[in-house]
Amino acid sequence: MPTFLRVEHISKRFGGVIALDDVSLGIEEGQIVGLVGENGSGKSTLIKILSGVYTPDRGEIHIGDRRYKRLTPIQAIREGISVIYQDFALCPNLSVAENIAIARWVFSGRRTIHWRRMYREAERALRQISDQIPLDIEVGQLSAADRQIVAIARALLEQARLIIMDEPTTALTEKEITSLFRMLKRLREEGIAVLFVSHKLHEVKEICDRIVVLRDGRKVYDGTAAEADIRDLQVYMTGRVVEPVQFAARAGEVEGPPLLRVEGLTLEPYFAAISFKLKRYEVLGITGLLGSGRRELALALIGVLRPAAGTMEIEGRPVKMGNIWDAWKLGIAYVPEDRISEGLHLPCSITANVILPNIRRLAGPLGFFNYRRHRGIGERWRRELSIKAPSAETPVRNLSGGNQQRVVLAKCLATEPRILVLNSPTMGVDVASKAAIHRFIRELCDRGMGIILISDDIPELLQTCDRILILKRGRISHALRGRAVTETELHKMLMEG
């Protein structure tokens, strides 16, 4: 196959930080290339250089027989490079057809809209990949997977020859992932190249022809997917061999009623008949693909969603949670999945963040409360969790992802919870912090807390959990002992129908 695009010796620096360092890479027509790497490895910088958002400091981009020192966004589109971002960049209030075709009408300099022609164009592009989605429905009513298809159809209409997909599977359910993969194979047959950017190694290995690994801005691996071994790729990504943490399970020794007992929890259409027990000194993992009800179950456990049926007992006593503040009062602390928008007040100090869930206890009679008198709390937790910050009065915005996540943990722990529910606690966190957070979870568990870890990170689950529940279409499909399975087995259980 002829090469569609080649980047040569690309480097890019931001201030003192080297984002990309002498990266060379070729993409052939009709090839699916997997681009993997940790956060901050330079993946997104590379995407932005290819789509013309950033100008590289050094290096060249070759497309066909043309050489570019830099691409402008318009040039990128003209050369057929199209990026599908994680949010798909669609207008929820417009029809499918308009979303697909409008950009082309704008770029081609037309002034008026010929609706029938627009629908025809959109239809031709959309029908290449999907027969199901109606053209006249509003995009806001579509599922995430359908929205992604619309975004791909838009790229096809713009005559894309290289489609860059940024973490395309994060918002998809297992079925949708399968159909996405089928679609990618169809694109491949038509000679369209795909750069598949992801951090999920199993998926990358499954769909890609070639895999490129970036670490700290450098290309550290480039080879065919068939030859790549997932363990090796992991080592390339992280730069070290990840030692599985050794821990001693103590939950078996606990007497008395379980810390948390869930019976027949049901909230159609998200999950049904969920029953499990959580003991002290135990980490329970809950996993499942997107749409399996994993997220909703987590929200129900902390009172954000009210289940339609089922009971919950804490230490033998039945509890009813009307809302999330009831969960905090009952000693259930929650680490949300989106640290930035749900977990933290970015412009505020560490102290202010840690105080917030505890405000009820800290406030005196009549609700009086003096921030300055409680500055010690932030300082204590900064030291306890070794958060790297000059002081506890540092705004959380200035911390790194890993340290921010520690602040979220501090918020929870300061309430002295009995149960800690963590939702994807290491998403977007660097390797060192990730390991530290895993160690810390075990430590908390050893102090007698019961921990529920909701995650789709397979190694993470295997490393930290005593038991793992797999959700599928809202029901528990497997209940496993943590160390009884291997990564590949767990991945297979997750993916199989």
């Binding site: 201030g15 809302n323 999330i324 503040w325 969960a327 905090w328 009062k329 929650y334 949300p336 928008s341 749900e342 977990g343 933290l344 007040h345 970015l346 412009p347 505020c348 100090s349 102290t351 202010a352 105080i355 917030l356 869930p357 405000i359 009820r360 800290l362 406030a363 009549l366 609700g367 009086f368 409360f369 003096n370 921030y371 300055r372 009065e393 540092t394 705004p395 915005r397 200035n398 918020k411």
Partner: protein, 341 residues
Amino acid sequence: MRIRSKSRETRLSFSQVGLAVLERRSILLLGLLVAILFTFGTTTPRFLSYPMFRVITSQCAEIGLMGLGMGLAWMVNGVDLSVNDTANLSALTAALTLKHVSHGGSVAVGWLIVSYLIALLTGLLCGTLNGILIGYLDVPPILATLGGMTLYRGISIAVTGGRAVAGLPAMVAVVGRGTVFNIPVPFLIFLGIYAAMYLVLNHTAFGFKARMVGINARAAYFSGVNYRRVIMSVYMISGLLAAAAGIIIMGRTRSVAYEYGTQVYIVFALLITNLAGVTAGHYGITAAVLATLTLQILSTGFYSRFMTLPGGPFFNNFLWGLFLVAVLVFAQLLKRLRGKS
């Protein structure tokens, strides 16, 4: 570039969690205040005199109380456009009560207090409706309070038939025109409410939660804060403050009219919040009070300059509109300048 932005954020966070006692903005406003006083003092005869002091301090309470309420709403990413009409409606309920119970222009102190309580209750109800619409029904604040404004003004018009209620007992004037130790009562009330608000915002759990809700309601929710209730409470307080303003207006003018202050007062309230530099999650209440004083001095100064002109008040309106646009633009320029340096 990075380091610079860091130090800026640090400053922001300090004021946001209420550590800074005298913020930069207050000092700026204090300077502005002195400059304006100096200008009018040298150009207008008898400006720096006790009668002028009395006029300024007794009038600043009305706009100040509405401004404080508007600032609160602004702090939780909202706006309260109904402050003026809440004030008028609240005053109206008090006035109608007084009319009902007074005999020949006099009324028992007990009834006076009852009527004030009724006014405050009305303000609270207006604020509650705004709060429910915004906090619990997720109606955008501009729209919700615009609707509230229409409704409250509508009630006032319907009840009075569009006429002013005058001839209130002389005792109502105590709140509007009385003095204690030569200090006007409205100003004392204003200072009292300022102190209470300062306490609530900076030294209570509610104030802390309200600021956190303003910064990120979603994160506050996941930390167990009932943000809907917080938002509703904010509008309720705003309604109460507006009612207090209404009582003072009633006392000063000894009448109530549905159209009193129409729009000008909303502009004043917006001016106060913008001059005081209120942003989501950050509300320097001292700055708001200083902004109120600045505005009132300007207003009185303008008035004493232009009252001899025919149609002077109209010219004042023109100036205030211009002033609001100028302040908005200036604040934005200031922000940009700070972002660059």
